[in-house]
Amino acid sequence: MNFKISESGYYGEFGGSYIPELLLPNIEELKSAFKRIVESTSFQRDFSKLLKEYVGRPTPLYYARRLSAHYNTNIYLKREDLCHTGAHKINNTIGQILLAQEMNKKRIIAETGAGQHGVATATVCALMGLKCIVYMGEVDMERQAPNVKRMQMLGAEVRAVHSGTKTLKDATNEAIRDWINHPEETYYLIGSVVGPHPYPHIVSIFQSVIGDEIKKQLQQSPDYILACVGGGSNAIGAFYPFLDDETVKLIGVEAAGLGLQSGKTAATLTLGSTGVLHGSKSKLIQTEDGQVVEPYSISAGLDYPGVGPVHAFLDQCGRVEYKNATDEEALIAAGLLTRLEGIIPALESAHAFAALEKINPLADENIVVNLSGRGDKDMETYQQKLKF
């Protein structure tokens, strides 16, 4: 089976570029610039050098001895939480800022939900001396105040989004509208494997460094890879080099929020239907009338009403199994990892750990869990919910 993107930008029936004519020249320009640089040795050299010296790659693949004993199997953690800025998001922003420079764009815009992508974007803009504007829902700015301050200290302008439901989906709408209004000088630095083609492909390629390193570090194929899925960038990054190796069971974990039947959930692949949002065709949580439903999860990074088109496709063809974890399951998993290994995970990543309860690995099997980010940003929630 072919899991790679088609020439016209589709994964099976999902993906594509459903954008207003206004953005067509931008998308065409982006496509050709990406094609040009991704194969160039100078880009590869600059990208690898920054990942190594600035981000701190390769990140360790750590054998979690006590967590392994707990589940009576072998569990490895891919330590993306040790990346500069505290999450995998920066792999993509480094790649895309080099792309923006190649395209001679001076003004960078981005959307952010929890603020991790916003921080990663503000960081690379500071590094390259470029103007940075981050759109963030008014509600998220309140929930994630420390990340707002980080972005501001890095020199970014954080613009509060008051439209719609004032969260990530509206921040994305606003970023796209900004792009429509400033098509020539602006580079839109998207944070996940969503948006119109070629973004899902670009972000997948830049994040696949995660899986490439796992392959080298483990020196054999793992039996399982577990990763959380909101838009799905850390998951596809970890899965990408293993898609053709069917001996590896790939498991994506969505946020079930208060439960699949509660109406307060972000489990798009389980509950969604085919739809078009933010320029691509994928699965979408929507009403009977086709209105996008505001998702819910305790983790701000997973409450996106859509999901990357590549995941909709991998779900449909069965190559990846998508499970889900509730807020409560994620909190328990975060507590367990913290006490057994001395690592506080991001709430997003905690969902991947919760799925350890839902698989039945053998004692001699190897599991890699992608620890996509660290939990510092979530301390207030942890403190409230875990009551310490």
């Binding site: 004519e21 067509l24 020249p25």
Partner: protein, 261 residues
């Protein structure tokens, strides 16, 4: 079979065509029928009814808010079809539906087109349905139900693509006055070079200019180079001002039309 009203209108030699946009279910859930009939009686040549959507990417704040309000009012696509069906026999100007692709995909494209024809819709404007997807997947079904697909061009659209869009069009071409979301800029004085260029390209189809046409001057400026103009945000503003709906419509439209028609 009934004739397509838009085809008929464009075949006349009428100039300065005025197309008014209004969001379905706004300001109140059952206002749309009255707005259409009032505007028609005030001399509007065609109307474009917006299907409210939770995430209207190409729209500026005014139309976004009208869309959100309509959804809060409980407006749905199904209800819009019912409302249009009720006034079908009273409407003698072409009606277009403007909507985002997700609304149509979710409704079922063939079913949607069938309903459109049934309630007297002449054409569709779907800003996020790209030309290439339309041609490979939907051209036949649009034809089957006698619906025109109205395609957009912008000042950034290359001449080759303008010609391609002209060839793929069946009614008129929608020229977006400048690189912006709807109603984000004031007036179209920066757009004259673009519109003038279009007027000299000898296109097969007439052009109507839309986005940022906020008053009579801008309307006349658009009509100088193209067959007519589309007014959206300014109209929505005019019917939002807590005035009696009919008064809001009449005052605004007479300020645009005056004695020019």
């Amino acid at each position: 079979m009934e004739r397509n009203k838009l085809s008929d209108l464009l075949q006349t030699d009428k100039k300065n065509l005025l197309n008014i946009y209004s969001t379905a279910g706004y300001p109140a859930i059952d206002d749309t029928s009255n707005i259409i009939l009032n505007a028609m009686n005030s001399g509007v040549d065609m109307m474009e009814i917006g299907i409210p959507f939770s995430d209207p990417l190409a729209d500026g704040p005014v139309i976004q808010q009208s869309s959100q309000k309509a959804l809060n009012n409980g407006m749905t696509l199904e209800l819009l079809f019912e409302q249009l069906n009720e006034i079908k026999n009273k409407v003698n100007i072409p009606l277009l539906l403007m909507g985002y692709y997700n609304s149509i995909l979710n409704y079922g494209t063939e079913e949607f087109c069938k309903k459109c024809q049934m309630v007297g819709i002449s054409g569709l404007i779907i800003p996020d349905l790209p030309l290439e997807v339309f041609q490979s997947e939907y051209e036949d079904v649009f034809k089957k139900y006698q619906l025109h697909n109205i395609l957009l061009i912008t000042p950034q659209t290359t001449d080759d693509r303008v010609k391609k869009i002209d060839n793929a069009s069946t009614a008129f071409i929608y020229a977006v006055s400048s690189a912006s979301t709807t109603g984000t800029k004031t007036g179209i004085s920066d757009s004259t070079a673009f519109l003038e260029k279009l007027s000299q390209m000898h296109l097969k189809h007439p052009v109507l200019t839309g986005f940022n046409i906020n008053n009579r001057d801008a309307y006349l400026q658009a009509c100088k180079y193209t067959r007519g103009a589309i007014i959206g945000s300014a109209f929505i503003k005019a019917i939002s001002n807590n005035v009696k709906l009919a008064d809001g419509i009449n005052i605004f439209l007479s300020s645009i039309i005056q004695a020019s028609k």
